[in-house]
Symmetry: C2
């Protein structure tokens, strides 16, 4: 291994730890026009979720002692040889600059970065298997942390174009609040990047409840799913070229004006249309299941009975439902309805059934599983309706949140002496 002369023999580890949020698309990304560069067939818009409930934390470290790049994800070492990781590492390295840490007496010259290796440790504060866009937060955090470590001067938008090459939707996790991914026009993808439409304080009434739905089926990965849709759906191009451009403009306007009725209508319609083009794929792709359908029916019925939308729903490449309530009052009523229809299994304790911001549970007057059992039937239902115990694994109460941040060294996942994971 060639280690740069100036640094050879030195004993130090330089580290950065960062936290990056997940995001949920309200105008969906589905279909690539370039598979290698991850360039989409249409613009998309997302809401960033509060990282206190859903985020990735990543520590990146560099040391002249490291003999190769290594990565740990959720406590397990994984291979970095895939093109998506290699693209991100290469793009960030090529933008590295001089770094000087006076306290630790470390000096790394711009040209040294090509020869130095990094260790990466990343973990999600939520179950990875739950299908909650962990790769979006993961690649955004990797790029953001490395950029910080290597003193990369590019702004968040330019970093988003790098994160995009790891996972398309990762580019939208470089900002908090409301984010737009411009599909761009350039062949090299340089203008396919994220911009912030509004920060999380712009519309802080919104409350988000995620229903993590139990699924017995193995789902089609979004990478292969969208490839198959591009290859076989006769509706996708019409959606991408004729429908989404207008929806994106309308959604920008709805967000700007905090117009919940329009926001909800656009969000629900676009989620349904994304799943429609999945169904129009050959063979067809089903991400929603009967539980997803029941949650949609519950929301549609309630919204109609109220005369104006209280809640928007959206579903990504899986059966989980992301529900966006217009305000806290609506969120409390929503949670009551959800718990009424989807009570936990007998052995489940309340504390592990409703996660995240539990104050919404308190406002809903629910202190125990018994309180769920005595919830009244929602007034919009005429006849006594069926319950679906156990069909939801758990709920997460959250809200729109902030973008990536650098965390203090005390939060590091890697040992500052060895650069190896602390928790191995």
């Amino acid at each position: 291994m060639a280690i740069c002369r100036e640094l050879a023999g030195e004993k130090w580890v330089l580290m950065t730890t960062a936290q990056t949020p997940t995001n949920i698309a309200v105008i969906k990304y589905w279909g690539k026009r370039d598979e290698a560069l991850i360039l989409p067939v249409n613009d998309s818009i997302s809401v960033t979720l509060d990282p206190s409930h859903l985020c990735t934390i990543t520590t990146v470290a560099v040391s002249p002692d490291f003999e190769k790049d290594r990565m740990w994800l959720n406590r397990k070492e994984i291979s970095l040889s895939g093109a998506r990781y290699q693209n991100c590492l290469r793009e960030i390295r090529s933008r590295a600059n001089d770094v000087e840490d006076e306290e630790k007496k470390i000096k790394i010259a711009k040209k040294d970065w090509e020869k130095l290796h990094v260790y990466i440790d990343s973990y999600n504060n939520f179950p990875t298997a739950a299908g909650l866009a962990s790769s979006a937060a993961g690649f955004a955090c990797l790029v953001f942390a490395l950029a910080n470590l290597m003193n990369v001067k590019e702004d968040h938008s330019q970093l988003s174009a790098i994160a995009r090459q790891g996972s398309g939707s990762a580019c939208r996790s470089l900002y908090g609040g409301f984010v737009k991914w411009n599909m761009g026009k350039e062949k090299d993808g340089s203008d396919s990047l994220a911009i912030q439409l509004a920060d999380e304080k712009h519309w802080d009434d919104l409350v988000i409840i995620i229903a993590v739905v139990s699924s017995r089926q193995k789902e089609t990965s979004s990478t292969s799913g969208m490839r198959e849709t591009v290859e076989t759906s006769l509706l996708l191009q019409h959606r991408a070229k004729e429908i989404v451009p207008k929806r994106v403009l309308a959604m920008e306007e709805a967000i700007k004006n905090r117009d919940f009725a329009s926001f909800a209508q656009l969000t629900c319609n676009d989620s349904n249309q994304f799943h429609a083009v999945c169904l129009d794929t050959s063979p067809p792709i089903f991400y929603m299941n009967d539980t997803s359908h029941r949650i949609i029916s519950l929301v549609e019925k309630w919204n109609r009975s109220e005369g104006e939308p209280q809640v928007a729903y959206t579903f990504d490449a899986g059966p989980n439902s992301v529900l966006i309530a217009r305000n806290r009052k609506a969120a409390v009523s929503l949670l009551q309805r959800l718990l009424f229809y989807f009570p936990p299994n007998a052995e489940t304790v309340l504390d592990s059934y409703v996660l995240g911001d539990k104050s919404i549970l308190q406002d809903a007057g629910i202190k125990s599983v018994e309180d769920i059992e005595s919830l009244p039937q929602p007034p919009e239902i005429n006849s006594s309706s069926q319950k679906y115990q156990g069909d939801v694994s758990y709920f997460i109460c959250t809200k729109p949140g902030k973008g990536p941040v650098v965390l203090p060294e005390s939060e590091s996942l890697l040992d500052p002496k060895t650069g190896l994971p602390k928790n191995l």
Copy 2:
């Protein structure tokens, strides 16, 4: 009540009994361009199902004693005041001709029909609630039987344009075999009618198995469903104008050449696209449920493993699956797979679980529910897979079948003396 002078006081009942098949669309009808006349936004193509397993039988009677038009459907009297019934009755009456029954010494002049009233008794030889296109067979049978009674000279295509005004897909039940409903261009709907592409003998290898799927949900009626799709889906017009015309040509070609691979691909794709535009409706319409999805997965996996399609699937406005096997051998293998994954509930007897042509069951080597339990796992499945006991209510084995026929008087549902239902 004004009864024509010549007939007043006479004591006779003149009757006709007819049998008409149901049909399943392989290129779907979804969306009207004229609600009142029932004119569709695109052509559709169907396969007529064997009336020995699925049909409507209707007796129509006329007598100078009848004081108003009356109708019984599946043993219950129903109102004829709806526009759909009124349209059919008016159109048929206006085409009535002189009728003479020498044996019974009855003479009805063309002009008398305007003043005479009819009794109608109709019943389906399959459960109405099962969602098996009972209204298609019903209106076709009503129009066909009345036309026969009233000596209407119009051919089946012209009658189909009348049946269409009762229920759109009814027009396709005027023929056996493979039928096309031309959407037509005229404002009055006169050219929106069915033609026969090929009779049932043209492609008699095909075997059809229907899985009647248990549903806990109340479904959106197809009338209101398609209205909502026309009003809100942004994908429907693209489907109707750009996609279906090409598919119709390709399907006509596939039927002409008995090209099962093309037939299956087009049938499955068009079923999925119909459900995609339902999902693109606001609020979204779900007709397929998890069981429907599992049947699709089973067929897709098996077709892929065989290298060429063995079975096509199609779903109408409900969760029931209509499976078209390329030949008897494929149908036997299909039935084994279906029974393996969807065994009957413990209390169910085999005889009520597989209906219709039970010889397929014999060929599959299944003589009892125990034989279902010992069916081997299909070879295309690697791991031991889950079973879904009770998720299918029953199966019907059938095949493409013939068009409407007049039945002998012995089959009449009405009493030849009183004109009232025999089975009341």
